[in-house]
Symmetry: C2
Subunit: 334 residues, 2 copies
DNA sequence: ATGAAAGCGCTAACAA
DNA sequence: TTGTTAGCGCTTTCAT
């Protein structure tokens, strides 16, 4: 089944059918209706390959990410894919987890074979070669969560976010606050542990606290658990913990319990993310709306495809969500 | 840049370049090497659209799933996409979450526009129309986790898996075992809560226990938490709980703790899945390897594309993983 | 082993 | 508004 068949059935030329189906170029309402009806009747759908070859448009956006099974990434992906679908775009998934050879393949072969109109890169630290390869496509490129040199990027103000939660703890009266940060491995990938730590330290500097206790972990629940055990096991344990991610904060909450400490009475705990489970755990955190981030990235990409100007760097919104894991320090008890 | 340019540079015809690059048809090793070198030098990659139009092959598989942000689905997706990438295939993602209109669009427009060579449907209960639409493509179709009428399907023997964990609890000496199952909503989507409950009841029947306590939840941690509170709040609480998923089992473990009960001393808890967090929680469970399921689905799809025979229904492997959440009932204490 | 040439199914410039 | 027609870049048959 092809466009000629529909054209023949309706008694018009294939060009008219093409125009009616794509909405480009003018067709009389009556003809358009007849074409659409004929197509619907026969279950005819335009062949993407032929359309692409002739027009250069793919109606397809590639999304590149380092993991699929972590909360943040699946959220961004879900948000982006939903927006793209509504705009009639397919999404092709490039998952970089696995060894480096696969990563190279993606940049050398998969992306360049002209299947996509644009690329969204999520939390990707690209090396020079990779950057060149993407730039060489000469197609819209948007980064989410990680800075991409020379491309519009959506990113959280990690310093500001960390400063905000830390400020919340300080406002409650805490001065002895520990931080569970990201280890080197996670810093390479996401580049944000350092910034969150910075915001944490900035907020404390303001009240004259220097070099507070910082323990690094790997952004997982077990990692947060281990770090919190270290922190809470010390003789003069802090009255609050700020973890650089909600998952580590969950681990910290579990560790506190296992040590016989009650949250928030004995220790206040806060995180960053507003993970799906945070409400359940009553975790005070910074919400960063990753689904909206995905959707926003799509807006930029589509605007770019239409030739509109696209802002270089956009700071993403975030907000403090106070739940039951933080309270005033129980000074009497100490 | 196109194939003619490479052909000209090497001094052969475009047909030879095509053969050298695709590996179809014979080319002398020497010519092939020169073609590959010329392509590499210039960063030339075959245009997928043109290739597809001429050959009918897309090198692309569509994966349809109901959620992206749940553990099971992201695991299956990650497994499938990795295998496909290794075989040189792209993956196009069709996520059905959201309202029905989007779901209809996927089946009416997105999938039929001939971008994919095959479709993998994960845990989807398709209605007749949708089934017709997929069948009409006349392309390989494989179902994972949910039965698709008339297509090869990979599924866990849910009855057997549930019977196995329950048997483990029985072997430890438990006779008073409660079950956290799936509510109606999850039964429609996954069709597995009923089977898991069946396996649970079968195992108990064998030792003469009829109509045991069953509470339904929604396959989430909070759902499991609430259900377990109900179960453990009764005067003669059971000595063990079998939850139909690990996430619900996590909720049950948290509920037990909040009630002042110790796991496994006061109550044994087991689940099904072997979720990433299960090891951390020490949860006894049934491992079902969703990544391998995704990879296996790809094997079937690729075999089908090559014209090999494909088994209709395949039972997936599963195994009991005993950790620290289950032990013998403490009969002395009661 | 290689080349010539006919499509694959659509879009878009141009003409009417 | 509609039709004619020349590609888009590759694959594949058929020769050689």
């Amino acid at each position: 089944m092809n466009i000629a068949e529909i054209a023949h059935a309706v008694g018009v030329s294939s060009a008219t059918v093409s125009r009616a189906l794509s909405g480009r170029g003018s067709v009389s309402p009556k003809t358009r209706e007849r074409v659409l009806a004929a197509a619907r009747e026969r279950g005819y759908v335009v062949s993407q390959a032929a359309s692409t070859l002739a027009s250069g448009r793919n109606r397809n956006v590639g999304i590149v990410l380092p993991f699929l099974d972590r909360w943040f990434f699946s959220q961004v992906l879900a948000g982006a894919q939903q927006s793209l679908m509504r705009a009639g775009y397919d999404v092709t998934l490039y998952n970089l987890e696995g060894d480096g050879s696969e990563r190279r393949e993606v940049f050398e072969t998969f992306i360049p074979r002209q299947r996509v109109d644009a690329v969204i890169a999520v939390s990707l630290e690209l090396d020079d070669t990779e950057l060149q390869q993407l730039k060489a496509l000469d197609k819209p490129l948007v980064g989410v969560g990680g800075p991409i040199v020379g491309a519009p990027t959506l990113a959280l103000d990690d310093v500001g976010a960390a400063r905000l939660v830390t400020g919340h703890l300080i406002a409650l009266g805490h001065t002895s606050i520990a931080h569970i940060g990201g280890d080197e491995a996670s810093d390479v990938d996401f580049h944000l542990p350092t910034k969150r730590r910075q915001g944490f330290e900035d907020a404390l500097e303001e009240i004259g606290v220097h070099a507070p206790l910082v323990v690094d972990a790997d952004f997982t629940v077990p990692g947060g658990y281990r770090a919190a055990k270290q922190i809470l096991g010390t003789p003069d344990r802090p009255t609050a913990i700020f973890a650089a991610s909600d998952e580590m904060a969950f681990g910290a909450m579990l560790a506190a319990r296992d040590l016989g400490l009650e949250v928030p009475r004995d220790v206040s705990i806060a995180g960053i993310d507003d993970h799906d489970m945070s409400d359940f755990y009553g975790l005070t955190t910074i919400a960063q709306f990753p689904r909206s981030q995905g959707a926003l990235a799509v807006d930029l990409v589509l605007a770019d495809l239409e030739g509109s100007a696209v802002p270089t760097d956009t700071d993403l919104p975030f907000e403090l969500v106070v739940r039951s894991s933080t309270t005033r320090p129980d000074t009497a008890a100490r």
